[in-house]
Amino acid sequence: MNTKNRNLIVGGLLIALVIAILAPFLASSNPDGLESTAESLEVPESEPAFESPLPDYAIPGMEDNPWGGVVALIIGTILVLLVTLGLASIFSKKNGNGSE
């Protein structure tokens, strides 16, 4: 990987991490558009079919602590970066049957 691409990944990841760190403090906790519509139309809340490890971007047991949210979002941001890098590398021209 050349320097330009390394700088892009480091710089881009830093921006994403700053957003991830700020979000638990700055993000509105109001319901989103779909939840608001469901409330207005008196649709009852539903239970998740699957128990996720970090529900609602919080560490279980410290739901009220925004720093738990920061940790959850940092984990998620790095995980999304790594999964995208991995998947894109597997399904890229080099490994694929693309026209090269």
Partner: protein, 215 residues
């Protein structure tokens, strides 16, 4: 507009899953034909940035909030709606699996709305509008991508019997018409940011260098 479990009957969930999986297949085919060492880093950081910014809910009127989705951004920057399907699928799968954001039964529908509809509307709206000028075209394409994804979501909720059609479309449309402004502004800012930092990574149709050459 992440649909939770329980809002769509399972047999309808299965249909959205099938559509999503077929689209994911096409997006991987796109990846094999278009991704290389040069553009993979940008795809990965935009993917991570979209995950993070989707947690940044911005308050809108009526006690509601909304966040960017990012499908139009990816479709425009990577010159393909399939790129948006790929990135939004990764983000939505991890959000559902790890953070319980969007139900796993509704994952197919969420990929259909935010990835496929968002990506295709963003791509083709920009394609049609780019003659009016790059920045307004990006803004409107991004706005339309989330607005029409929300309308599709409302129609699906009506088919599911969860929302009445007219009220569902009015509420979802109204909220996401406002959230679309957030989508439009951030999409423009990010593309201008890439244009100044790494113009070599932008395709001709959204690059400022190219339009200067043409003019």
């Amino acid at each position: 507009m992440h649909i939770p479990d329980g809002f769509i009957p399972l047999w309808q969930c299965a249909i959205y899953w099938i559509i999503a999986l077929i689209a994911l297949g096409y997006s991987l085919k796109w990846a094999r034909e278009n991704l290389d060492e040069k553009n993979i880093p940008l795809l990965a950081v935009l993917s991570a940035g979209i995950f993070a910014i989707q947690a940044m809910n911005i308050p809108i009127p009526w006690g509601t909030s909304g966040h960017m989705v990012g499908a139009a951004l990816i479709a425009i920057v990577f010159f393909s709606p399939w790129a948006a399907v790929l990135v939004l699928s990764i983000v939505l799968i991890l959000q559902g699996l790890i953070f319980g954001d969007g139900g796993m039964t509704a994952l197919g529908a969420n990929i259909v709305n935010m990835g496929i509809i968002g990506g295709f509307i963003g791509f083709y709206a920009y394609k049609i509008l780019k003659g009016i000028g790059r920045i307004p075209a990006i803004f409107i394409a991004a706005w339309a991508s989330i607005f029409l994804a929300a309308i599709a979501c409302a129609i699906e909720m009506s088919i599911a019997g969860t929302f009445p059609l007219v009220e569902g479309v009015i509420f979802m449309g109204l909220y996401h018409a406002v959230i679309g402004v957030i989508e439009g502004v951030i999409t423009v800012v990010v593309i201008l940011g890439i244009d100044s930092a790494r113009p070599d990574l932008l395709p001709d149709w959204v690059s400022s260098r190219k339009s200067e050459v043409l003019e």
